[in-house]
Symmetry: D2
Subunit: 347 residues, 4 copies
């Protein structure tokens, strides 16, 4: 068995279907900057998927997708409402501030990573709309599969959409692990976007089997028109776009993305169910996708590390993330080793 690495789902290699897609388009000349047939086919494929015309901008990272997307929805004097644990707040080194020209992130109280809808509503109401000394409410950002390993139920998404639209704001969804969320919810891509009024989506693929491509998906033509220029000046328009488009097209073709996510989620569940049998080990958050936050004795953590098993130490615990390629054997191995270390710890 290869070393097991649960540090993140982005430690995994690319899925075979993604690699095959690269090979498929690696033939002869193709017009650059998205004027190639593969990129056009991608737009058609995603428009089908979302049940409406969408505009697709492949980019290299989720941070780029988030920050550039937000910049086309939020004026420099605007405020973006997001969870206090949102990736755009904690993990992007101020990318949203850079690309928007200095908009403000306004943090909304969250539980298990999910924004409190009432707190969101109140925050917008008290934001001072129309008062020149206050950043103006502009956008709501939400990570559908949250940074704490949970998923917004459809009902919550609908309520947040309602609050967003009632106040005249725009709705931005961070879909870094969107496939995992859909697999968990049993919902379609359209259910969580088109039907509730998402304006721009960061469409994640890299954490779930792609090699190095994500996409900004715009549901509004006016935003898409502005994005053309914003993506370009962000240095995010690949000349050989076909290699990004091919990854993304293969990713959704025949439901590959959902199959990969289902596997990752199942591995997460199996891991969670195994680990909680170890004395003094417990889940810090509900395990709804492939991301676990686990409290475990230091002896167990150190033991797993000395076994060469990759994991991420966080404040008060560890994060473990399974991937599209996690096997039962790997998961069972980790659980078995945790039991060994746990037994020693308890002894």
């Amino acid at each position: 068995m290869l070393p097991v690495n649960l540090y993140s789902d982005n430690v995994a290699p690319a899925a075979p279907e993604i690699m095959a897609a690269l090979a498929r388009v690696d033939v002869g000349p193709a017009q650059p900057y998205g004027q190639d047939p593969e990129s056009k086919a991608l737009k058609a494929a995603l428009s089908d998927l979302f049940g409406t015309e969408v505009w697709v901008f492949p980019v290299s990272t989720g941070t780029a997708a988030n920050a550039i997307g937000l910049s086309a929805m939020t004026p420099p004097f605007g405020a973006i409402y997001c969870s206090e644990t949102a990736h755009i707040e904690t993990s992007e080194c101020g990318a949203a501030e850079l690309f928007t020209g200095g908009a403000k992130l306004q943090l909304v109280r969250a539980r298990s990573g999910k924004m409190d809808v009432d707190a969101l509503d109140e925050a917008i109401r008290k934001a001072g709309k129309g008062l020149a000394h206050r950043a103006q409410p502009a956008t709501v950002n939400l990570t559908i599969a949250t940074e704490r390993g949970t998923v917004y139920p459809l009902k919550d998404l609908e309520r947040i959409a309602e609050v967003t639209k009632r106040h005249g704001l725009r709705f931005h969804m961070d879909g870094a692990r969107m496939a995992n969320a859909l697999a968990a919810l049993g919902a379609s891509a359209a259910d969580v976007t088109t039907r509730i009024g998402v304006d721009v989506l960061s469409f994640g693929a890299t954490k779930n089997g792609a090699l190095n491509a994500e996409a900004i998906v715009a549901f509004r033509k006016d935003i898409a028109e502005e994005l053309r220029y914003r993506v370009r000046r962000a240095g995010q328009v690949w000349s050989k776009m076909r290699y990004a488009s091919a990854q993304l097209r293969a990713y959704v073709e025949g439901g590959l993305w959902l199959r990969l996510a289902t596997q990752a989620n199942a591995a997460g569940k199996r891991l969670s169910q195994g680990l909680v049998q170890v004395p003094d080990v417990r889940m810090l958050e509900p395990v709804e996708i492939n991301q676990l936050f686990v409290e475990m004795p230091e002896r167990v953590i150190a033991g797993l590390e000395s076994d060469g098993i990759g994991l991420g130490r966080r404040d008060g615990g560890v994060r473990m993330v399974t991937a599209w390629c996690s096997t039962n054997a790997e998961i069972d191995h980790v659980v078995a080793r945790a039991k060994v270390h746990g037994a020693r710890a308890a002894a």
Copy 2:
């Protein structure tokens, strides 16, 4: 024969060695964000190549490389001196302005794409250093293989470096077609960077056989330290960095990049030599690499287009760019067709 496309060198597919490198690293888990062995090996390989320790930041496009690199060398109130035909001025939709926070590009008179050294010196001298109402001279940007298909001779590079350093500015090199320049000059990578005091280089690969990766190469540790954060907030740190690092490593390994560029340059020369035999066809610029600016009768242009041959219409002519994979058969086909159309035109 596949359709011949000379619209740009970025219409070409990836070189087989680059594709093989992707497959090579597509195995098992690897730490994300450049903490993987392949990325470390890339740093070692490029440090060897340049004959000094360098810091390498793979990014997705040349625009990103240029603009982010410049942002770590130029304060928001700074001025960047560049040729009036520089890519950062004409073709990046204001990326340098975005990432620097509003620095000013100051255009220097150029001939065949090459900055006039005396004009550069004079522009800096008259810039108003120390006067608060003037953007402050900060950086010189130079594209070694220019946007007009020419290459700076070593002597010119040395003179520009001397002017740059004498005024206390920093030196930024756009190496989008660096391999083509080195092949033309018969110079080493160190000759045109380390030895003359380049501070930051945009290291191009995509136009010359890579799939979708370029790199910022920093020659100074203080700039590199700042780049860590600037690249991240630009959304340009791939999580699965190994796939970019592998491309770049394979690109330089065993001199692949120079072999590919030599082939592209040779094809450019062959094309040029063939075309000038067509009546009323002439080169608008010296052909020193793989990029031709050609004056030809409209009948010839339209004829080639109707043959399905890709080319780029520009003000007063066409641009034709050969690539690493251009074959003699393709070039000869284009020349033959041009002759056919030219004969009709002349008739």
Copy 3:
């Protein structure tokens, strides 16, 4: 009696000494942009005041002073630590974000407007210094006379300075009501700046008798050098600078600023002592300067408003601010009217 307006201290007119200073310099020609004798005298006067050479940049507002000052201390990828009630966070429409190029404000828990020193220390320690995905700790911002009407004791300032310097951050002080703070503390200007290592100060004057000038005071030459350009491109270098410099010079000459602040503070105390005698009226914060946050029955608030007395409704109460020109008669009138309305309310 003129209508009494306690909406803010900036509703007050200019002090006679300030108006006289304008007239004094309104004679004949003077070099522009701060090259005039009055501006040079201002630098000397403030250097005397702070007991060290300082560099002075008059600007038109406190928001400009804060945001431009911070921009010369904080890289775009930096984090600024401030109280959750800081003016730069709540009341400047994102000015700090604009001028820094997108730095992040990190809010520190505060009580009565004063940052908790331990919370500040912990926030910096946990900020992820050196991690590329985190905004990098750069600057601490503190409003010496807080937005809640309190003043940091010298001991707290020293502790915050110690935390700031220990972590290698820069120290920015918002002195919008600095004179009121000094009057309350019985401290000198140097005590709260030079002696504890403040790097840049927003030196407020408008709220305390000036007409329309504030100043950025830099205590470090390197920061001052950068400010020259940043202030200019911010559009904050008056051509007829003498009129701003004259205001600021008169403001500190002979201790005028402290006399004015002492009067405003005394009026605040008198108002507070009077109001708490009204049934159901209480101070929401300690009254340490000229700014009161008062809980009072709606009947009393509405009554005062119908009397034409200016005040500011805030969440759960009213803000009342006395000024350099508040008279005992005015204060007593307000208290008397509150008692009348309070008696009705209680009845």
Copy 4:
């Protein structure tokens, strides 16, 4: 006689009417941030002047007026067309780039400071509208009384307005010396703005008798709405706004501004007519307002300087600027001294 200073018109003091206006409003409390009666009267006065409702934002400098005004008309990926000698290009240290978030200034060939209309038209036509790699044409900026001391004739203004609107761009006018231009043209304020479709005007006052206030005048409500926030976050909303509004109101009341400018222009003409009688002295540009560019022998320049007469050395000559308060005696003194020095020079 006081020392004569022709270094710039901003070396002059404030006009007595402006000083009187300050005293007039320096009474009792007034709501801050433009909610005072004087600021409301200013809006009415300027709406009268321009013959349409306008929105007025007093700011502290012309640089602020220009850059913030442009930022509400130009997206970050936009291009601003201006004369190659435009103040926003040469003298504002990148303010337009800062406030727009990195828009590009595109320089248009000019003669005697006036943009060539055909060159403007061609530049916009060739700008690559709709091409993602090009900054998108957004705004035309024009200084009505140019940086070279000339004034656009009405016919030229109309042609530039026509080009601007035909291409769908917005029209920004820098009116730093607008009064001087109107006095020279014999035109009304509406003639050069409302009637030709100016969208935003930088309304200058400081160079022509005001103390320290300029204004952004918006002719469109949508732009004005955005300006409210942009001006605030620029740190350009004075709390004691009445002192700025009073200056601006007095400035236009009863035509004061035109009287002052007429006097400055007449002084400029007298100076010009006198100087050209000196051997080897000639005007480098037509003298149409109060600003002269003069070629004179070094002996004459040095002689005037040694007389204590202020002037501005420029490349190849000197700039001399008369002001609202320039007297015939002063002008005649300068001419007489030039003749003395010129006689020596010729001898």
